[in-house]
Symmetry: C2
Subunit: 226 residues, 2 copies
DNA sequence: ATTGCTCATTTTATGTACAAAATCGTCAAG
DNA sequence: CTTGACGATTTTGTACATAAAATGAGCAAT
């Protein structure tokens, strides 16, 4: 009797929670496995995911609402092209939002809060781009640690959505040596401003930081053939 | 996103294009006919619109993607509550975005461009709040005239989406006398700054203008019982 | 040959009907 | 007051029907 129980949960949370159709398509778009303007044919996707068409149709419509997919009546869905101009648009908005979020963090940060971002900063300096994916992950955590508790959920959600797109984008292009050292320095500068509780300076540094990242990626996008 | 077409504009709106289920539900949410947190039952909506369930399901998912609807697995969709905090979130973002859009307009505006916004400004002064809905319409056109050609489509779309929410919200609450005179003055000041091609001043005025509108509505929301 | 057209055929999106699974509400028993 | 069973409600998934659009073969005019 007791040997038939607990078939669920073989481990805490190691097992993936069986990604939804929505997430699968979304990841395919963001990661670039689905190319710009590619047609998203409901029947094909349904077959590929082993479901019927309705889940796909619903996922597509949600993605459309989020802007990842463009739909035209009676002619279906296409992957939203995320070219250099779109990336620029996003960065221009982030240049405004991230300083706002950062200033708030500087205002409310306790010593423990600061300790967390400092640790992340140090780890990034230690690996020194030897492991780009890990650096990217730490970079995201660095900013996330500052922003995630902000009261303006709308702003944080927007930041996160943009972040996911930009993260995926920068994964497709290399980071120049010059930019690498700049990023490390900017993070360090930001950390100092935070420690000094200098709200204005921290905001200004983040603005520069975001702008620099944006300029760099767009440069890579427009020069690299791909 | 950029498929958000020109629904507004002084267009020949003779024959309605038979509003889609999506638009109907969306309008019901924004206008407040559907109240906060109200359950959106697929079968009911389908019956109300005289369609089958699939169009409703797709509309709901798009709305979810746009943030107007909140869905939880196996327990359906609810109207996203748009309380004072959410409105504050939106205004805080607009305080950043609108000045950016305005500055660009000041930079590129020709005399004809300025003429258009001036006319709108004058008309608002003439009706002097005798017709609040009309004032709201002109106000939207005033800003739209400045922003709609901006190269950052993402920012413009975001502004428009926010604008629709805020327009509907302010329609539900009265505008105080003090606020009325302030709005007229701010518009006039802005116009002068534009005419003087003073980018910085125009941006600063818009920031104040948006902030003032936000503060006012939130004040109304938190004091008026409703 | 190439272009541009019609028209039948196939593909695909969109709408309807129904089945399975989950949730919610109610009410009786403890 | 809480628990648990059971029926009604509602969500979620599948299968199919219809209508619109893409495709491509055939053919006439340049």
């Amino acid at each position: 009797m007791s040997d038939v129980v607990a078939i669920e949960a073989p481990a805490p949370d190691t097992a993936e929670p069986a990604a939804s159709v929505y997430e699968l398509i979304r990841d395919d778009i963001i990661s670039g496995r689905l190319t710009a303007n590619q047609k998203l044919i409901v029947a094909d996707l349904a077959e590929r995911f082993g479901t019927s068409t309705n889940p796909v149709r619903e996922a597509l419509h949600q993605l459309r609402g989020e802007g990842f997919v463009v739909m035209t009546p009676n002619r279906g869905a296409r992957v939203r092209p995320m070219g250099a101009d779109f990336i620029r648009d996003i960065y221009e908005i982030e240049v405004l939002i991230e300083p706002m979020l950062t200033r708030w963090f500087v205002r409310i940060a306790t010593d423990e809060d600061i300790k967390i971002v400092e640790d992340l900063c140090v780890r990034m300096e230690q690996i020194n781009y030897s492991d780009p994916p890990l650096h990217g992950e730490l970079d995201t955590q660095f900013h996330h640690a500052m922003y995630h508790r902000h009261y303006n959920r709308h702003a944080v959600d927007l930041w996160w959505k943009h972040r996911e797109i930009l993260k995926a984008m920068s994964r497709r292009y290399p980071t120049s040596m010059a930019r690498r050292v700049a990023v490390l320095k900017e993070h360090r500068d930001l950390l100092e401003a935070i420690k000094a509780h200098d709200e204005e300076r921290a905001g200004a540094i983040v603005a520069l930081h975001v702008e620099g990242s944006g300029k760099h990626i767009i440069g890579q996008m427009t020069t690299t053939p791909r």
